[in-house]
């Protein structure tokens, strides 16, 4: 039975939701505002919220010093490549776990997730040595592989959850109509799971875009993405907060825009299967 919600309750709920949303978004808002201040205004005490002379000098300085487009291109290739590769591997894996489960399926799922519990630095040296041996240090392909492997457990888990919601009878019917395994996965399962696959891809792109440990440690000049671009403006000896904020804003802008336009898809995908 639907709960009877009063108008007053609705207003309170809406206000509370906005307050929480603003609280979460505030650090990003502050970063964006700081990027338009001078270095002196950026450290002013008490802090200046809006009453400052807006300037684009930080963006100008950042663009003069760094090759932003190269960092951006590297981020797009690495985040996009690792996501596509991850989906190609995860769809069949999640299909088998959802529709042809074995006694050990749950254990395998848990084991996959447990790999996320290992601190990344613990395997830095083995991975670094492997990259040297394979000649893929500071290469986009190397990072695509590593980020795909890091995010694969999450992709498989999410797809598994979505696939479990799809009635097995539909796939059975396809098989009775003569569909091969490939046809079943490609032409029946995948189209039905497109909302789930899309939101999984979006989440994976965001995770790969923001990944800062491997992208900093396995790159130098050629394959460095936007995380390295931000790191180049951080300094423990010198107040460059306004320039750092400009670099951060430029680094997060593409993913913020992508998230803004796909928020409906993302929210519906992430909450899919939450209520049973």
């Amino acid at each position: 039975m639907a709960r009877n919600v009063t108008q007053q309750r609705k207003i309170i709920n809406t206000a509370a939701a906005w307050a929480v949303g603003l609280l979460i978004f505030f650090p990003i808002l502050w970063t964006i505002l700081t990027s338009f201040k001078t270095e002196a205004q950026a450290i002013a005490d008490p802090p200046i919220f809006l009453g400052f002379d807006w300037t684009l000098e930080n963006y100008q300085a950042v663009l003069e010093r760094s090759n932003y487009s190269r960092f951006l291109w590297n981020s797009i290739i690495i985040a996009g490549g690792s996501t596509i590769l991850g989906i190609i591997i995860a769809v069949p894996a999640a299909w088998s776990m959802a529709f042809v489960p074995s006694k050990r399926t749950k254990d395998i799922l848990l084991w996959m997730l447990s790999t996320k519990m290992l601190p990344a630095v613990g395997v830095l040296y083995p991975i670094y040595l492997l990259f040297i041996s394979l000649g893929i240090l500071d290469s986009k392909i190397g990072l695509v592989i590593v980020l795909m492997l890091i995010n694969l457990p999450i992709i498989v888990w999410m797809l598994y959850t979505y696939f479990k919601e799809i009635p097995g009878e539909i796939l059975e019917a396809a098989r009775m109509d003569g569909a091969s395994l490939k046809d079943e996965v490609l032409y029946v399962l995948t189209p039905m799971a497109i909302p789930g696959i899309a939101s999984t891809m979006l989440l994976n792109v965001i995770l790969a875009w923001n990944e800062a440990f491997w992208t900093l440690n396995l790159t130098a000049a050629k394959a460095a993405p936007l995380t390295a671009f931000i790191a180049s403006y951080s300094s423990p000896e010198g107040l460059f907060y306004a320039k750092l904020s400009a670099a951060s804003t430029m680094a997060i802008a593409p993913i913020l825009i992508l998230g803004w336009f796909s928020q409906k898809q993302l929210v519906s995908g992430l909450t899919f299967g939450a209520v049973k």
């Binding site: 010093r65 670094y128 040297i132 440690n217 130098a220 180049s232 423990p236 000896e237 010198g238």
Partner: protein, 434 residues
């Protein structure tokens, strides 16, 4: 046939000969600070002179340290030049990880490098990194507030005077703290400051048998003096303040005195960023009359990892970037106050540079620092604000966390020192020193 073969041979020889002059692309890992960023802006000058291109990898100091350590210890070969400091250079040089720089050209004039810098960047007399800029630490103080307090800053004050002056300059109603010092955990942050300060109180990290010395009276005196002074005259939350936090406070006129890196002098006297630019005076870091001052010594230097494919081009870059000509280039374009300081003797003999307000005090601070002999009682290590052994960074980070907890009032000074003693002895035992 003979003619044809001779032609092939001649062509091959000319290609091999030309190979020596082929333009290379070198990759340089560096730290994000004003002088290094300025150097990146002049890369075109280097390329025009040598034909070599440069790819820059600029990182935050701690990220850089982790990144280059991983690469050099695995012989990764990602970089042709690394920006490293006085802590890493002798250790890596001893490991054979760096290319010796004892064959630099006569025009480069390696004898012009300040002896303290050359000594700290060498191992057994061989130079392994060329200093790009060097720094010590000194007192930066507000002349107007000192005068208002009825005091006069000596050129070489004692800690006792600094404590009294800090109390006299503190004005809580007007948000002025008598003194701002690093308290932030981290071996290169608060750990560096308190280690340099402890030298002047007669303390040391290790005795000659590598036993920790935190149970000595000298360490108790150091920490108690620091905490009492900062509680009375320091800013709120000083236990989490590092270089940047104190720079921000000083530039906004909220510190009477600040003892920190000499490189900060150019920031606090820059009227674009500092509200007190015309009111800043300088003095040597304090002592207690035991013969050692509390200033440190550091250099950001350029080194070539052993095994690089572009050693020749890398050496050319180092000769260019740390040369007298580079200093002249920056001076001509941006003024003498912006040249990289602390590396060459000739800079301080230059009458134009002598006009820079903080030049003399910077040089005196650097010259008074001796990494080979930094403690009152003998110690087995090289380094002033660190001990140049591989284990130090890890140990000192843990120890400085205990100290910061004491500054924040989470434990007593005695408890922090007792824990530091145990942490250090256990780590040194595990590493085989004891």
């Amino acid at each position: 046939m003979f003619f044809k073969n001779s032609l092939y041979a001649a062509t091959a020889m000319s290609l091999i000969t030309a190979g020596g002059a082929v333009a290379e692309t070198i990759t340089i890992a560096t730290v994000n600070n004003g002088d290094m960023i300025r150097m990146q802006g002049y890369t075109d000058d280097f390329t025009a002179k040598t034909g070599h291109d440069v790819e820059w990898v600029t990182l935050e100091e701690n990220v850089l340290r982790q990144r280059v350590t991983t690469d050099i210890s695995t012989k990764g070969g990602a970089f042709d030049i690394m920006t490293i400091g006085m802590y890493e250079t002798p250790i890596w040089g001893a490991n054979g990880w760096l290319v010796p720089l004892n064959d630099l050209s006569a025009e480069y004039d390696a004898a012009d490098i300040l002896p303290a810098m050359a000594g700290g960047l060498s191992h057994e007399g061989t130079l392994y990194a060329a200093p790009f800029y060097g720094e010590s630490s000194m007192i930066m103080y507000r002349k107007d507030l000192m005068e208002k307090a009825g005091l006069e800053m000596p050129k070489a004050p004692t800690w006792e005077f600094i404590g009294e002056a800090a109390a006299a300059m503190t004005d809580r109603d007007n948000d002025i703290n008598g003194i701002c010092l690093r308290g932030k955990a981290g071996w290169g942050e608060g750990g560096a400051f308190i280690t340099a300060m402890s030298n002047s109180f007669g303390a040391r990290w290790f005795d000659m048998d590598w036993n920790a010395q935190f149970d000595t009276e000298a360490w108790a005196n150091t920490l108690n003096f620091y905490k009492n002074m900062m509680d009375a005259s320091g800013p709120a939350g000083y236990a989490t303040n590092g270089f940047n936090e104190n720079l921000s406070l000083f530039q906004q006129g909220k510190c009477g005195m600040w003892i920190d890196a000499t490189v900060a002098a150019s920031f606090v006297t820059n009227p674009d960023d500092s509200t007190v630019a015309d009111k800043v005076g300088f003095a040597l870091a304090p002592d207690t009359g035991l013969g050692k001052r509390s200033n440190w010594l550091w250099a950001w230097a350029l080194a070539i990892p052993a095994g690089t494919q572009n050693e020749s081009a890398a050496k050319e870059f180092i000769e260019w970037a740390t040369s007298k000509d580079y200093i002249e280039l920056v001076a001509a374009k941006e003024g003498w106050a912006n040249v990289p300081p602390g590396a060459r003797k000739s800079l301080y003999e230059n009458p134009e540079y002598q006009k820079v307000p903080f030049a003399e005090m910077t040089l005196e601070s650097i010259l008074s620092a001796d990494p080979q002999n930094s403690t009152v009682e003998p110690s087995p290590y090289v380094g002033i604000q660190f001990a140049a052994i591989p284990e130090f960074a890890g140990i000192a980070t843990e120890v400085s966390q205990e100290f910061s907890a004491a500054y924040a009032g989470q434990q007593t000074v005695e408890e922090a020192l007792a824990k530091a003693q145990d942490i250090t002895n256990e780590a040194m035992e595990a590493a085989g020193y004891r």
